[in-house]
Amino acid sequence: MQQLINSLTDGFLLGFVYGLAAMGLSLIWGVMSVINLAHGPVITVGMLTTYLLFVHLGLNPYLGMVVVAGVGLALGLLIYAIAVHRVISAPHLSSLLATFAVNMIMLGVFNAVFGGDQNNINYSLGSLSIGFLNLTYSRLLAALGAMLFTAFLYLFLFFTRTGKAIRAVANNREAAELMGIPSYRMLALSFGLGSLLAAVAGSLISTIFPFTIFSGGPYELKSFVICVLGGLGNPLGALIGGLALGLMEGVIPIWMPTSWVPVVEFGLFVFVLVVKPSGLLGAK
């Protein structure tokens, strides 16, 4: 029982970070109907940036997240400009393949520059004990960081002018243009934001687990699962989906070997896609 609660809490905390990553994907999908297959490598960028700043500049990983956010935003704008802009109105396959091409390019560059070794950020902060609950500070801070960025996203989208413009473009691009909103700039910014969230999520993950340049992939897949569960284009759904996934990952190993977790995740993924593609919470 104690083990179950510990497992659940661990999973729940991690779920916030999953949710953050998924929100990045969900935002891009919601605003421009593009499924960003470069999501994984962007997460990896977050991991790598934090690692490099920590190892080479001794920068506290949590402070480094501000840099990571900037890098993520810049990277997103770049990817949009190079790969996505031209195919934004083309059939979905084109943007899928374009972002996948970016995925390949980024992985290729990582492979050439960093190699496939494991990297670890040794910034352990110890753990906190509440009764029988044993929580590592890294997970707590990661969850906190995720919550912070989620709040930031919400405030931005609903309380700033630019944020509202983005929501307008997501709702109806033509109408937004007719009202004077520079839609392409908003699209680029949205892509940048989505990448920002992904990169920060990666950064948070790197404080908990060691990683390789290929680590982004599984988290990308998890993001898909979460987005489908919570509804593609629905950031709140992404957060809830993330928590749900985290909890699931905490619970399942109690009853079956951990290796079955992906089977359940992907089985659920396909099931929800087929039965209710707009997600358990509905889209947008």
Binding site: N103, L221, V270
Partner: protein, 322 residues
Amino acid sequence: MRALKQPGLWLYVGGLLFWGLVILFLQDPTLRETSFTLLMYVGLASSLNILLGYTGYVSFGHIVFFGLGGYVGFYLLSHLGWSLYPAALFGGIFCSVLASLLGLAVLRLRGAYFALATIGVNEAARAFVSNFSPFGGATGMSLDYSGYSLYGGSMKALWLAFILVWLIAIAVVIMSYLVKQSRFGLGLMAIREDEDAAMVMGVKAPQAKTWAYALSAFFPGLIGTIYFFKNGNVEPGDAFRLHLSIEMLVMIMLGGQGTVLGPILGSLGYERLRGYLLVSPLFKNLHLAISGVALLLIILFVPAGAVGWLRRRFPRLRGVLE
């Protein structure tokens, strides 16, 4: 039959036949191995083209049939002592049946949702097989050398595998051609262009899509069994590589989707590029990046692929560039 009058068919089949005969004549193992890989991709890409290029359904996880068919066939070979031919055939049929059943659920999805679902199916299959002990779980299964004695020893087995894949590639190309020139193919292409309009015109879209899916799954199942037979072992990481699945897609896009020649050219071109990059010391580490750049350029600037571009540029060659 109308198809037999098309010069393109004879050209491609003739080319493939000639190639295989040359390899057989030269008896060079290195050439054989390279050709095996190339022909395998021709077969895989052309199969996927039935679903992607003709019907317009983008499957990102098509490799699942290669993996599952390979696993099933390999199991029959190694654990039940079946001969290669029925094992491979069973692997193929298993995949077709699976595709039909799977299709009932996933073919109701459109566009990107379908693509995502196929990724999910592939990942679920991989995770499942990793846990499935009759299939060896995470370590997979292997064939010990005595298994090859049925075929005259491991040397002969390698040649046999090559011949089979060669013949299968030719069969897939012929099948692609026949489908494209058939009433069935016309219906598929109508679905690709506008599924709702096609249904209003009388095309039974659900059934047609299922047939296309089943057909596109058959050959990868066959090929998978032969590939893992040749390899001597099979494991989940090898069998369900998502990247390979997407590379199949790239090959079709590069060559030109919806044509018969497209997947052939695309797979040959892509594999050669990859092979060259892997060997060159300068580009070895960047091969994935360069492939990505190539794909991006194609998507952005020449979405119809090489064959599509050629057909537009030289309309008179349309009869040959099918």
